[in-house]
Subunit: 175 residues, 2 copies
């Protein structure tokens, strides 16, 4: 688990960062990222790659610990300025569980021959001030369901880890 | 969270159940399952539907609590006889964390206009006896990577909950 650099320019509050999420673009002419293969089936991803993958993904699973037992929820999230923003309904178990709490969020994706997975660990808090809420509203985190979702939870990461895993020959993720 | 029925015929050890996983087939002429929509965007799934979805899925995320902090791992699993079987590498953090421990496993899937998510809570243990291991080896839980994976973790559920969620109009899960 890598720790975020303490002097990262990304440690700004959401209200200071009302911009579209940006992908990290490698320098022109840079070699393409290595792919895992039979000889080296698990490839650790660096932080830039992890964030790029999170920025391109909206479905994650949030784990919290309640009295030393895990709870797990699917969430839609936005990766932005090296933080995560989740939109949830007021008064839900999720909202209650994430108050000042250690959380882990996983997102993954697949291609024909490989799978990636990124896990962020961090601390969650519910956005409270009008300024924070206005900044969150301005971000492109759209509700994914028709249900009313008016609580924003922000996750400040303490660590991020990602892997790309080569799938075994002939393996299919669905039957 | 629904509890498994205490007299369920599925409460057999793995070694007694070396058969292919079977989908629950509704009676001929039965109405198709209702779909969520704008008026009722979140549909609770019954246990049969939850197990059918898990049987058709091989990628899940396992949450465990370690000193009251969540850990989260992508896993490939097999739903079989109302239990879950996970194959993992010996000596991993995952294997250590799941010993006699409360766990939650989530799997999800999507169609164009909706998303389903099933969360199983239960107790994990590493299969130990030769008979259990032979039974597990006979099940169609193939390793998904070329890495050596020789530890089997069985999850006996204490509860299962699933939902189908209508996606908001125009919502895309990936950018």
């Amino acid at each position: 688990m890598s720790e975020q650099h303490p002097t990262s320019p990304h440690r700004r509050p959401f209200m200071a960062g009302v911009t579209e999420p940006k992908l990290h673009h490698p320098a022109p002419g840079a070699p393409p990222p290595p792919l895992p293969g039979p000889e080296n089936p698990v490839l650790e991803l660096d932080q830039e790659e992890c964030w790029d993958l999170l920025i391109g993904t909206m479905l994650g699973r949030l784990a919290v610990s309640v009295r030393d037992r895990p709870e797990l929820y699917p969430v839609n999230f936005l990766a932005h300025d090296r933080r995560l923003l989740i939109r949830t309904a007021q008064g839900t178990k999720l909202a209650a569980a994430t108050v000042n709490s250690s959380v882990a969020l996983e997102a993954d994706g697949r291609s024909l021959h490989s799978l990636w997975s990124v896990v962020v660990k961090g601390t969650a808090r519910i956005l409270q001030t009008q300024a924070e809420l206005a900044a969150a509203e301005a971000l492109p985190l759209h509700p994914w369901t028709a249900t009313t979702k008016t609580t924003y939870v922000e996750i400040v990461p303490t660590g991020i880890r990602g892997r790309r895993i080569a799938l075994a020959e002939g393996f299919r993720l669905e039957r």
